[in-house]
Amino acid sequence: MALQLFKIETVEVASPVTSVSFSNIPQGYTDLKVVVSSRGALTQVYDTLWMQFNNLTPNYSPTTPTIRLIQGSGSSVSSSAFAGLQTLQNGANATASSFGTADFYITNYTGNTFKSISVDAATETNGATAYTNLMAALWSDTSAVTSITLFPASGSTITTNSTFTLYGVL
């Protein structure tokens, strides 16, 4: 049986925006998947893209790791733990027309337990250095996920032609 994946909403950025949101998320699925192809205006090769649930300030302290990352850069590998659900997106100094890609998978999003999230992402550019990331995260909140917001950590904008799609998974 094919994966039971159902598109809920797609946002295609037509002009630069400071954030992208999915609101009033239907509560009838089991898991959620967010597929991202994005680029930001920060004048660096990469920028950090944060994900926030229910418009809440993340309810964890910087001393409590909630995300664990393994990352390859093309020449080195690193592993770290930190707070804040995030991924990388291409910045303005990445190769023109290149966009970072990421899949966020949010399990049991309507349940009354903490939410486990996995992320796999790549920020390809025409250079020897580019990042491939695998992340595991925990949102320490028993609330159902009713909205998701993505925004650059730098405060810059998300550029035109970036796309964000929310899927429900049965």
Binding site: A2, L3, Q4, L5, F6, K7, T10, V35, S37, I70, Q71, G72, S73, G74, S75, S76, V77, T95, S97, S98, F99, G100, T101, D103, D120, A121, A122, E124, T125, N126, G127, A128, T129, A130, Y131, T132, L134, T160, N161, T163, T165, Y167
Partner: protein
């Protein structure tokens, strides 16, 4: 009201009252290819342009006489030129090799092939996002792994095709040897 397939355009099933509730999904099988032992590559051609993203899932084995694992590469629209970048991170149980290259001839999708005959196969899941979007270079991302009870690796690879053309064909290949007939890849369209 009938349900219309994104792939074929044909109508199936009825949504009239009294019939079972139908929820059209966003993940649809497009094609499946199986190797016959005579080639190092498999191609999906004439890919419908009606989806948003593509996903390829497969198992693979190559007839290379070693007890090892090998990379799965992807080429787009039959482009065999040096028009790709690729990067990979892998773990083999003892080390974490990484690699990054520009001006290469394929996008990296990780170590999804077992390099020998027998019962072991590798597994791969490959994503191609926004494949019809002509404002973007195409990024390919793969997660794969092989384990042969001692030899094995898990890898995540990615690649950038430096071309904004819509993807109409996709070729999966293995560098070391021909795919055996235990190799199958399935292409899915995601709305």
């Amino acid at each position: 009201m009938a349900i219309r397939s994104l792939k074929t355009g044909t109508f199936t099933r009825s949504g009239m009252a009294g019939n079972p509730v139908i929820m059209p999904g966003s993940y649809e099988s497009i094609a499946t290819v199986t190797a016959n032992g005579t080639s190092q590559s498999l191609t999906f051609s004439s890919i419908p342009q009606t989806y948003t993203h593509l996903e390829i899932r497969g198992i693979s084995q190559a007839s290379y006489s070693s007890n090892d694992y090998g990379a799965i590469g992807v080429r787009l629209n039959s482009d065999t030129g040096s028009n790709y970048t690729r990067h990979v991170i892998r773990g083999n149980g003892s080390t974490v090799p990484v690699n990054g290259l520009t001006s290469t001839t394929f996008a990296e999708c990780g170590d999804g092939a077992y390099l020998n005959t027998g019962s072991t196969v590798g597994a791969s899941v490959i994503s191609v996002l926004d494949y019809t979007n002509t404002n973007k270079y195409t990024t390919v991302r793969g997660l794969s792994g092989v384990d042969n009870n001692g030899i094995g690796a898990i890898a995540m690879g990615s690649g950038l095709w430096l071309n904004t053309a819509a993807i109409t064909s996709l070729t999966i290949f293995q560098q070391n040897a021909n795919f055996t007939d235990k190799t199958t890849f399935a292409l899915y369209g995601i709305a």
